[in-house]
């Protein structure tokens, strides 16, 4: 109970401080440069030059401290030993590229990068195209979208239960093994099968992200000008032809957005692997390896080196996004 009060008090104090800062700093500015008197015009100009920085101040401070500084600090740390003291040059990177677990993580991350965005986009596109044609489409969408609200940890429990394994002499309580046994096969401990277990983990993220892809792509499909479709119908195109030849080419931009958004998420994937296998049985990924080295082994140098590799991996997408945003802004 005391904790709740503490949290509530913090919200009140925090909100009050924020409001007090913005209101107070604006009031001070208006007092220093009043909008009346002989220098009113000059004062307004001066106040208008300063005011944006009052509005932006807290954000710039937090962004600089919590996102920009860490990027440089991580690079610096990655060139230093485990405690961040002695300079070791590129030793951490040399070690990384000779480490079997790291190479396994890179391979797995690449598998994730190919499989998850493509499958989620594919299922999302199929779901969007199909649900737009039927009356109960919105209801169906809602249910396919639902896993988006479920945490990776919750999803891990849900799917670990689906993949549950019992010996062949026992009754299977995991859905997947029950189906396999029902079809006459032998039960398998799915998440411990090297290489293939990666795909059983990826399925979880596909399951979560399909709803996201569906929502975005559905809006894009609805935005396609009716005339292009009507013209195709008049020309005698079949529904499938209309979909693949007329609709898809018009939403390529949106498909790219969905793909890159999921790609960024996949690069950072941590919780699912952490909760399901913790990187055992050949399922390690970069983010989990980074956590292991940083916070289990306590080696900040190696942990930071892995984080920097992650940063390098997202940099092309970052540059692409910035260029697109600037193009749109102009």
């Amino acid at each position: 109970m005391g904790q709740i009060l503490y949290a509530a008090a913090t919200i009140v104090v925090g909100v009050f401080l924020c409001v007090a800062y913005f209101w107070g700093s604006n009031a001070v500015l208006d007092r220093i440069f009043p909008m009346k008197g002989p220098q009113a015009a000059a004062n307004v100009r001066k106040a208008n030059a300063i005011r944006p920085w009052l509005f932006l101040g807290p954000s710039i401070l937090v962004l600089a401290l919590y996102l920009v500084y860490p990027v440089f600090n991580s690079i610096w740390l990655s060139l230093h030993g485990s405690g961040g003291q002695e300079f070791v040059g590129l030793d951490n990177y040399v070690w990384l590229f000779g480490d079997a677990k790291f190479l396994e993580s890179v391979r797995n991350n690449l598998l994730w990068l190919v499989f998850v965005p493509s499958m989620a986009t594919f299922f999302g596109l199929v779901a969007a195209a199909l649900t737009d044609r039927i009356k109960w489409g919105n209801f169906a969408k809602s249910l396919i979208f639902m896993p988006m609200a479920i945490s990776f940890v919750g999803a891990a429990v849900i799917w670990k239960f689906v993949y549950d394994y019992r010996g062949a002499d026992q009754e299977q309580i995991g859905l997947l093994n029950a189906i396999v046994v029902g079809l006459g096969g032998d039960p398998v401990a799915w998440i411990t099968v090297p290489f293939w277990n990666n795909f059983f983990l990826m399925v979880i993220l596909v399951w979560i992200q399909t709803g996201f892809a569906m929502v975005i792509l559905s809006a894009a499909l609805r935005g396609i000008p009716e005339e292009t479709i009507e013209a195709a119908i008049l020309d005698g195109a079949s529904p499938l032809q209309i979909f693949w030849r007329i609709k898809i080419p018009q939403i390529w931009g949106t498909i790219a957005v969905v793909w890159t958004t999921i790609t960024i998420l996949v690069l950072k994937i941590f919780d699912i692997v952490f909760a399901m296998t913790n990187g055992q049985w050949g399922s390690q990924v970069l983010a989990n390896m980074m956590y292991d080295w940083s916070f289990r082994a306590g080696d900040f140098g190696r942990g930071s080196a892995i984080a920097v590799i992650l940063m390098l991996a997202v940099t092309p997408i970052m540059v692409w996004n910035i260029r697109n945003a600037r193009k749109e802004g102009n």
């Binding site: 309580i173 919780d271 996004n321």
Partner: protein, 376 residues
């Protein structure tokens, strides 16, 4: 899109079926979790959740009473009793050795040799009889396969909320989530307004920075910020995680809100300026109320993200009961209670219940936010 000229009835059916298959595939895993969390833990351990409505078969290893209880009846030494401790149940089959636990049906009589016989009735009552006085201190083993009617219970929830610490973790999660949602909105709203409606040098550059920061992996921030928090004496705790979540959520907040505010009608804002309103007044009286949908969108995002987060909580909070959030507690249970599905399913369902309620109640804003937030 309905009723295309080229669309055939058979194709419509195919669409219905395909969507139905997708919906089933996407909901069955969660449904299984929900059903299992309400099942009796003994039944859950031996049968699939899809059999939850049918009686499940359980093997009970029982013993007859010890020979001390024998009585003489018409020249025979007999022991009577019931294999079910509660006296209730239905015997499907029974046996006297673990190798053949289902050798006999209810009502059958087994010959145990040396003139001893054992009979077990359907209601569980047994009759052990012998020609001569029985000796020994322990009774005869009986393995009974019984059909147990399905049983649903909320006991699992009681266990996880109390003994397994999920109740406390639930409170901790709220303690993390609410300030971590409210603070970034406030800070970001002012910045978004400045980037949308104020003219100053460097604005375009700042917007580009925000877009770039959207994709910075938060893994990069963990070590530097933990060291920073330790250096300034903040250490691990709620204050640190609120600040961390604020920092990580800010780029998306500014981006979403700015995109929305830019689209507000220019006439209103310019008109207010001409009338002598200051930016602070315009922001508070015009822009903020009009931006409610975008504020709601971001609030939902940030709430879901902070509620569902595991990594930030693991790094910036301690592992004591007073700081462990639900995701962290569940991961711990996955390790220590890996086979106890009644605990895992109930705990997991409690942790996803709040986001699901928010999701279904506010879906409209979530969709709107997604559409605005994906970088075009």
């Amino acid at each position: 899109m309905e009723g295309h000229a080229g669309q055939k009835a058979s194709l419509t059916w195919a669409v219905h079926i395909a969507v139905a298959v997708l919906v089933v595939l996407w909901t069955v895993p969660t449904f299984g979790l929900l059903v299992s969390s309400f099942r009796d833990k003994d039944q859950l351990a031996v049968s699939g959740w899809w059999t939850a409505l049918s009686a499940s078969e359980q093997t009970v290893a029982a013993r007859t009473d010890s020979p001390d209880a024998q009585a003489q009846e018409g020249g025979l030494w007999v022991i009577r009793g019931n294999v079910f401790e509660s006296g209730k149940g239905k015997v499907a089959s029974w046996g006297t050795s673990s190798r053949e636990p289902a050798a006999y049906g209810p009502g059958d009589t087994a010959d145990l040799g040396d003139g001893e016989t054992l009979a077990v009735e359907e209601d569980g009552s047994y009759l052990l009889s012998a020609q001569s006085e029985m000796s020994g201190s322990r009774g005869q083993r009986i393995y009974v396969q019984s059909l147990v009617p399905p049983r649903f219970t909320t006991e699992n929830y009681g266990t996880v909320i109390g003994a397994e610490g999920i109740g406390r973790a639930f409170l901790n999660t709220f303690t993390v989530t609410i300030p971590a949602t409210v603070i970034p909105i406030l800070v970001a709203a002012f910045a978004a307004y400045a980037l949308a409606w104020m003219r100053f040098p460097g604005r375009a550059l700042l917007i580009a920075c925000v877009v770039g920061l959207l994709v910075v992996p938060l893994q990069l921030s963990l070590i530097p910020l933990l060291r920073f928090h330790n250096a300034i004496g903040l250490g691990k705790g709620y204050f640190g995680i609120w600040l961390a979540h604020t920092g990580f959520g800010l780029p998306l907040a500014i981006y979403l809100l700015r995109n929305y505010m830019v689209g507000l009608p220019k006439d209103i804002i310019e008109g207010a300026r001409v009338d002598g309103a200051t930016d602070f007044q315009i922001f508070r009286k015009i822009v903020l109320p009009l931006s409610f949908p975008a504020l709601a969108s971001f609030a939902i995002f940030q709430f879901l993200w902070t509620w569902n987060d595991l990594l930030v909580a693991k790094v910036f909070l301690g592992t004591s009961d007073s700081q462990l959030v639900m995701t962290g507690r569940i991961v711990e249970l996955l390790g220590s209670r890996g086979g106890n599905w009644e605990i895992l399913t109930a705990a997991a369902f409690l942790s996803i219940a709040v986001p699901l309620v928010v999701f279904f109640a506010m879906q409209k804003y979530l969709v709107r936010g997604l559409l605005a937030g994906s970088v075009k």
